[in-house]
C-alpha cells in the first residue's frame, strides 16, 4: 500500500490539484487569445465539421437532431442543470459517506 496522500493532508493536496485545474483553464484562455486573438472558444466540433467539408465538399448530415435548444440561454440552462444535478448527487454521496464514517 502506498502512503502518498495519507502522509500529507488530503484536503490540502486536493486544494492544490483543483488550483492546478483552474490555472490550466486560465492558461487556455490567455494562450488561446494570444494565438487566435478575439477567439470565442467555440467547440472543437465546428472545426471537425470544416475538416469534413474540406475532405468531402458534398458531405451533409443525413439526420438532424430531433430537438435543439432554441438558443444559447436555454442551452446554458440545460448544461447548468447537468452539472448541478451531477454535483448535487456527488456531494450527497460523499457527504453521506463522510457522516457514516464519523459515526462509526
Amino acid at each position: 500500500m502506498t502512503t502518498d496522500s495519507r502522509s500529507s493532508n488530503p484536503t490540502a493536496v486536493n486544494g492544490l490539484l483543483i488550483a492546478g485545474v483552474i490555472l490550466l483553464a486560465i492558461l487556455g484562455l490567455v494562450v488561446g487569445n494570444i494565438l487566435m486573438p478575439g477567439t470565442e472558444f467555440g467547440g472543437a466540433d465546428g472545426q471537425a465539421e470544416e475538416v469534413i467539408t474540406s475532405i468531402d465538399p458534398n458531405a451533409e448530415p443525413w439526420f438532424s437532431p430531433i430537438w435543439e435548444p432554441p438558443g444559447g440561454e436555454t442551452e446554458s440552462l440545460l448544461f447548468a442543470l447537468q452539472a448541478g444535478l451531477g454535483g448535487g448527487v456527488a456531494g450527497y454521496i460523499i457527504g453521506l459517506k463522510r457522516g457514516q464514517k464519523k459515526t462509526e
Partner: protein, 253 residues
C-alpha cells in the same frame, strides 16, 4: 500555507474560473452549439451500424454486471451513482483550451477504475443519450460511435493502466495517468472514426486521420491533464471517506 489561506485562495480562483467559464460558454453558444462528440447525422449510415454493433455487446455486459453488483454488493450502489454523477459533471464542463477552442473532459476514467469498462459503457452511454436528446450535442445516429470512443475505448485504457500499474507506483499517479490517457484516447478514437468515414481522396485514411487528430489533439492535451487532476481529487476524497467500499470493489491499491 495555512488551511484557511488555501481555502480562501481556492474560493477566489473558483470564482474567477466560474466567471471565465460563463463568458466562454456564452460566447460559444452564440457561435454554434459546441459538441466534442461526432455530430448528429455526420456519420454515414453504414458506420452508424458498425459502431452500434461494437457498442451493444458492451452495453449488455455492463447492464448484467450492474445488476449482479447491486445484488451481490448492495453497498456499491452509492459508488455507481457517484461514478455516473462524476461523468455527468465533467462532460458539462466546456473548458477553454490553448488552441482558442473549447472541449470538455469525459469523466469516464474514474468509473472504469472502480467498476471496469463494461459498467462504464452503460453510465457513459446514459450521459451521451442525455446530451443527444436535450442538448443536440453528439447525436442519436452517432450514439454508438460516441459510446465506443468515450464510454468504451477510454475506460478500457483507464482499466488497463490501473490494473497494470497499481501498486507499482504511487496510487495518485496511476489514477492520474489512467484518467488523463482515457481522455486523450477518446479523442484519438473519435478522429479515427471520422477518418474511416471520410478518407481523404488523395492521401486516404491516414491523410484525413492526421487532419482530424490535429483538430482535437492539441485542444485536448490540457484538458486531459485537468481530467487526470480532477480524478485524483475525487479518488482521494473517496479514499479518505469510503475506504471500505473501495476495498470490496478491489479498487484499493
Amino acid at each position: 500555507m495555512s488551511k484557511q489561506r488555501i481555502q480562501k485562495w481556492g474560493l477566489l480562483l473558483a470564482a474567477m474560473l466560474l466567471m471565465a467559464g460563463v463568458r466562454a460558454a456564452y460566447a460559444g453558444a452564440l457561435n454554434r452549439p459546441a459538441a466534442m462528440h461526432i455530430m448528429e447525422g455526420f456519420l454515414p449510415p453504414i458506420w452508424c451500424v458498425v459502431w452500434f454493433a461494437v457498442a451493444i455487446p458492451f452495453w449488455v455486459a455492463g447492464y448484467r454486471r450492474i445488476q449482479s453488483l447491486i445484488q451481490e454488493k448492495p453497498e456499491s450502489r452509492l459508488l455507481l451513482g457517484l461514478a455516473g454523477a462524476f461523468t455527468f459533471v465533467l462532460s458539462a464542463l466546456k473548458i477553454p483550451s490553448v488552441t482558442g477552442s473549447s472541449s470538455h473532459p469525459t469523466g469516464t476514467g474514474f468509473g472504469a477504475i472502480l467498476f471496469g469498462p463494461a459498467v462504464m459503457s452503460v453510465l457513459g452511454g446514459i450521459v451521451l443519450l442525455f446530451q443527444a436528446i436535450l442538448l443536440a450535442h453528439g447525436g442519436l445516429t452517432t450514439l454508438g460511435a460516441n459510446t465506443v470512443s468515450m464510454a468504451i475505448a477510454g475506460p478500457l485504457v483507464a482499466w488497463w493502466i490501473w490494473q497494470g500499474l497499481k501498486g507499482k507506483m504511487s496510487t495518485g499517479w496511476v489514477v492520474f495517468l489512467a484518467a488523463a490517457l482515457a481522455d486523450l484516447i477518446t479523442y484519438v478514437v473519435t478522429a479515427t472514426q471520422l477518418a474511416l468515414a471520410y478518407p481523404d481522396p488523395v492521401s486516404g485514411f491516414f491523410g484525413s486521420w492526421s487532419k482530424f487528430l490535429v483538430v482535437f489533439a492539441v485542444t485536448q492535451i490540457p484538458l486531459a491533464i485537468s481530467e487526470g487532476l480532477l480524478t485524483v481529487v475525487i479518488f482521494n476524497t473517496l479514499r479518505a471517506n469510503a475506504a471500505a467500499e473501495l476495498k470490496t470493489l478491489g479498487a484499493e491499491a
